[in-house]
Each structure stands twice: as C-alpha cells, then as structure tokens.
Amino acid sequence: MSLEFNKVVEQVQTMGRFLAHQANGNATKLERALELFYAATDLDEVHDRIKLVRDSSVSGYRGAAPLPRPYDEIVCGVGDPPPMPDDGTVIAVDGSQIYPDQHSYAQFYLINISTFVYYHGATRVPFQATAPHLYYSDNDVLDKDGRLITNQTVNARRSLMEVQRLADMAWELRGETRPLVAIHDGGLLKFFGATDVAGAHEIERDYMKALEKVFHAEGLLIGYIDVPRSKYLVSLLHLLSLQPDQVNDANLKTNGEIEGLTDAMLYALVLQPGERSALMVQNSPQNREYKDRGAEYEIASFYMNVSNHTGRPSIARIDVPMWVAKDKLAIAHIHALITAQCAIQGRRHYPYALTRSDELAYISGGEKSQLDELIRTAMRNATLEPEISNKLQTKGLARSNKRQHKIKV
C-alpha cells in the first residue's frame, strides 16, 4: 500500500497550524532575547557568570562562553565584512556513502571522499578529485560482537576520513598561497557515541591526530554549518538573565522564557549581510576533552550572515579550533573568503567549494546499481552465487514498476 494522502492531509494541515503558532510565540521571545543580547556588554560580568557555572556543582550548562582573555569578544559585538585578501586557497572535502545492508548478497559499504580546491586571486583551474573506498572484510563490516556495523559507525568513519583528507590536503598544499582555509562540512566538535559507533575510541583518537596535522600545516580549519540549530548564545543569555542564586541545574535544564529560540533566529535580526558575530566557545564536557588534549584544539565558533543583499538573512555557523580563533587576521581572512565563496552562487548563499565537493562525492541511485552489478559480476567470476535475502527480493518485487491508475484527459 502506498502513502494514502487522504489520511495524511489533515495531519499536514495541523502541522502547519502548529508551526505558525510556534513562530508567533517566538516573536515575543525574540524581543526578550534581543533585550538580553544588547545588555550583554560587560565581558567581566559574563566571565564571572561562566566561572560560577564552571566552578560550582552546576554541571548542566551547555551554552556559550567567551574566549579566554585576551582573545574574548563582547557578546553583542558584530564584525563588519573585512577586505578580501589578495590571494587565498580554499580546500573543501565532502563524503558520501553506501551503507551496509544486512539483507544484501554481500556485506560491504563504500565511502566516497571528494576534494575540491579553489584558488582565489589567481586564474587557475580548481583542483578536483574523488577517492572511493570499498570495505568488505569482517574487520571492517562487523563490530566486536560480530554484528553488522551501524549506519552511525559508517557516518563516523566517513567524518573521520573527510577530516583526514582535509589534513592531508592542507599538508600537501602548505606551500600554496595563504591563507589556506580547509572547510569541513559540519561541526568540528564531534561526538562519536561509544554505544552506537564501533571503534569510537580509535575514531576519536584519529580525529584528533587529523586536527593536529592541519595545525602543523598552519591551515585554517573551519567547520561550516548551514542552518544551525544550536542554542549556545540563547543559553548564555538565559544564564545571564538569572540571579546568581538561581544558577542551578534545574534552571539550566531549559532556556526559561526564551526556550525554543535558536542562535540563528536571534542573529537573523542582528547581523547585516556579510557581518559576523562574536567568537565564543561552547561550554560542554566534549569541548573540555578537546581542550584537555591541547589548548589549541578547543572548538570556538561564530555566526555569519552569508547573504550579500538585504533580503532574507542566511545565518551559518563557523566552527574553528582555538589556534585559529586566537588569530584575528586568520578570522578576518576566513570571514572574507567565506563571504566571497557564498556570493558565487547568486541567490544560494553557500560556499561554492562545498557545493562542488558535495557534487563530486554524491553517489546516485544509478551509480549504486552499477556498483551492485560490478560486485555481483566479481562474485560470479569467483564462482560465488550472489543471493539477496528473500525479504529484499520480495521488497524489490512489490516495489518495482508499480503503476497507478490515472485519469486520461
């Protein structure tokens, strides 16, 4: 049976009303959040409040915190678009995957990693490459209990490979035109959950090694998050709105009167085209772990309105490791190069290099079918009979070439 739209239409309409109601409620909350935002001018006060949550028994604060002095920036401060550097190299890496399938004729998965390098300031053909990696041995596809690895594991391995490739490219291109910006599609603060991800500890270790490699190549690593849903700033504003004696885990479970807002909603009202927010760090045990491995590896972030006209703002979050965050010139270069990258695609405000690396990495349905055919042929050549499970066969039968009755006009 297909999706019966007559049964879902009413639910969709209810959802629409819910979203409208939510948006109306947010308008009032945003007014309050803006008040708190523009009142946050005293960095000493903010540092004191962060000290309070860090030093006390309070453990539930996951909001933003200013950078350590003297690199801290006023919470409500806004950075104008800086001038473009004369030259610059932008490396973008992306990945896509074919997940392992329990019911398939063979247990395997594939990760396709793409690289795209764009040279600003000089007329040069951008570099592009892809590297597909096929995994099929028991070590690769089974976890320590002999079960097929989860999709989260594949995602984690893909993320690791993306950052490793960025690190390799940054190292390879260390003699190239500076600044050398290495863009990762997604946040830099990774959480490889040990329960869902096989070999999470090793992945984490290798991820940190990759960060170190970018650091030694003096690359400006960034994580680009389009449509961020983070609430770091909103949580900080809520924290600042509390009286010192109200700062406890119970009150920090939610963001109180401004609960439901995201940082992007607030910055959409604050940041003009091309402007950036203050740099801050997220106060979290994960980030603490990163910092414990080396002060340079704590992850900071700022927001940018990457739109280049006064229409609807496009807010993106940019994650940077501390070695980048502490360098004002590096931040200015990143700010300028991301603005330039986001202006290339006209109405779509997204880094061109990321769009191209995504295009390169993408595995289409047709390509997946071709790969399936290649593997089946290889199996037959090795006198193996590729057989998929009855479940998958019957699914294929029932789903294929289904026709719907149509009224001819």
Binding site: Y118, R124, V125, A343, I344, Q345, G346
Partner: protein
Amino acid sequence: MSIVRENRNVVGRVLRASTTGFDCGTRGSRIDERHTFGSFVKVALNEDMSLCAIGLIYAIRIDDDPLARELVMASFVDNNTLIDQRENRLVPVEICAINVGYISNGGMFQSLPPRPPMRLSEVELMSEQEVYVFTRRFDYFRLVLNAKEVPSDDLLAAALRYASFAYPESERYEFLVRSGRRMAELLSHDLKRLSHVLALIKPQQ
C-alpha cells in the same frame, strides 16, 4: 579493433542515430571551431571505415543544470568559477547532424546511408579534399531542403559557405554561382525563400 585514432578532427561520439541523422556528444570544454553550424562530418558505419555516413551539423546544444542557472543569477561570475564550470564539470554538448550522403569503398554518394552508425562511434570533420569532392555535385540539396525540424535554408547556405573554403580561390566564385543556380531550380516555386538563400551565399566580389 582500433578504438583511438590519433591526428583526427574528432567532433564527438555518437549518442543516438538513425538513417536520417545522428546526434553526438562531447564535453563543454572541448567545443571549438570543429563544432560549426553547417560543417561536413563523417562517421564510420563499419570497423575499417570503408563505409561512412556523411552529415551536416545543424544544431549544437549546451545543456544547463540547476547550479549553472544559479551562477547565471550571480551579479558577478568569478573567473575561476567559469574555468571550473568549463574545464572540470562535465557540461555535455550535443551536436546534431543530418545525413546527406555516404562514402562506400572510396566512392561518395549523395543519398541516405544504408544504416546508422553505432553508439559511441567517433564523429570527425571531413577533410578539405573530401568536402571538395563531395560538394562538386548538388544532389544533397534536396535532402537538406526537405529535412524536417532543421533550419534548412540557413543550414544549406552555411554548408555552402563552409564548403567554398575547400575550393581553391580561383574556383570559389564559380562554385557558389553553380550552387545558386541549382538552388534556383529547386526553389523556383518559392521565390521568397530562394532570394533569402541566395542572399546568404552571395559571393563577395
């Protein structure tokens, strides 16, 4: 079987074909003077190239895609973005040709070829000598003028201008005058059309 042959003016490879014509494809970055409206091309119908279809390029299409459409909307297109789109992205170019003759064992015939070329066969420009020999007769005019969904008048005029450069300068004027006379016979029932085509091929004195 020889798949790659060097030193030839390859226009593209056949995508689809029939006895009346064929479409071939190439990469956007490779488009140049070989891909000219009205130029004469040939494609092998067998492996030893003793049988070839002769075509006239009547359309060259460059497809867009959503990314290209967005780039067009940008107020400024960076030079490197242009290079990337042209060099790196596989922008497909389709070249359409109608059949106007064929070569069989060294002889040239101005009628439809016996069969279409196979998919992925290489389409190449005819040499000056081949164009010279082929265009000494005008029987292919009728195939062009009667072709459907082809800008036949402009195509024939472009083909004649193209072919005239295969002739020595001393013969060029006479070639165009003879072509005009043959055209006048074929289009005597449609004087407006005739005068348009004649104006297009009028030799420069």
